[in-house]
């Protein structure tokens, strides 16, 4: 069942993003930012961990999860070392995502040229 939920959740989020892109002036940059903020908000109200439990990789592989991990990192930082922990902890859990993005971006830039 988790496979089906995973497919449905990630597919639904991508569908909404596509509808936004097709019908507004927003660019992919805007949409990913909006999704990140939504992810942080869902983590704040405690909903996102439940979604991850039911949908598995369908919930962890999309950009909303990045917002949720930002919130998680900042919150555990706050608990450990107070206000300064928000700043030091913000990227602690999402550092793998950021490093991977930069690394693969550089790799693709080195290997391939943009075509039309």
């Amino acid at each position: 069942m988790i496979y089906l939920y995973s497919f449905l959740f990630a597919g639904l989020m991508c569908l909404i993003a596509q509808i936004i892109l097709d019908n507004t002036k927003l660019t992919p940059g805007h949409v990913t930012s909006i999704y990140t903020i939504i992810g942080s908000f869902l983590a704040y109200i405690g909903l996102y961990p439940k979604i991850i439990k039911t949908c598995g990789a369908g919930a962890t592989s999309i950009i909303i999860n990045f917002g949720a991990t930002l919130y998680d990192g900042a919150y555990s930082g706050l608990k450990e070392s107070g206000l300064i922990g928000v700043f030091t902890g913000m990227f602690s859990k999402s550092s793998a995502i950021i490093t991977a993005t930069i690394l693969f971006g550089v790799l693709m830039g080195l290997l391939l040229n943009p075509k039309n």
Partner: protein, 313 residues
Amino acid sequence: MASRKLKNIYLHHHYAIAGLTENNHVLKNVLYLKDYYCGMRSIEECEIRMNEIVLNKLISDHTKLVIGGNLDNQLTSLSYALANRNLGYLGIYTACATFVEGIIIGANMASNEDIIVITSSHNLVSERQFKYPIEYGSPVKLSATFTTTGCVGAILNKEPSKLKVESYTIGNVIDYNIKDVSNMGAVMAPSAYETIKKHLKELKRDISYYDLVLTGDLGKYGLNILKDMFKEDNTNTDNLYDAGSMLYPNDQKKAGGSGPVCLPLILFNKILCKKKYRRILIVGTGSLHSKVLVDQKHSIPSISHAVSLEVLK
């Protein structure tokens, strides 16, 4: 006065390069590129290379001046192509009206020596310049025109040939408060309308005087807007065509071609090959925006210049 009749100004042979998307049996006698790089390291270098190839074909001992421009920052692709060539150079910019502006300036300076009027555009370069770099993957709207890749140069002087530059009209900058970068046809149609009206009024002609009125790069939707504007003053628009909307006839996803190279490509490599029309009015339409000002929510001004050509027998 912004309109003027000319005596003894002629356009001679030309040379044209087009990209691979334009290789769809519309154009004749064009050198097509095989990719967006033509053997160079970057897209900008490719555009410089295109300018160099065209210049090498056109420059002779009689050449004294090159007038031209393109859509790059600081007109780099032409400036770099002209380095150390011992030729006078006037760089001009009115976006997609550049070629027509080049003919107007050249016609006022013409002598028995050759003046080369040249323009180029590159799809990926102008996507980066005016919208988003292609790597960003921003979706394209159906009303958006597709910047043509290519480079066209032509020789202008006073020696008689079969193509006479008969008169011209310099346009005004028009701003109808349109802010949509994806709808350049709507931005430029009003300026094309104003310039054609001005040309006909100042030279006391009717639109039926011309066998063909060819606008630059309005695209399908822009051409419809222009036709509607003429319909309101009961002007017949049967002879009104748009170069941009002729360029990709089988591609429903593109509203048409755009870029300064669009008009000369269609004029030299399609219209004049047919030998069907005698009096032709070409109207270069340019949108004069920058990405910075569009991001600051400013509207987009536009300009059109018209040149009347006569095909002699």
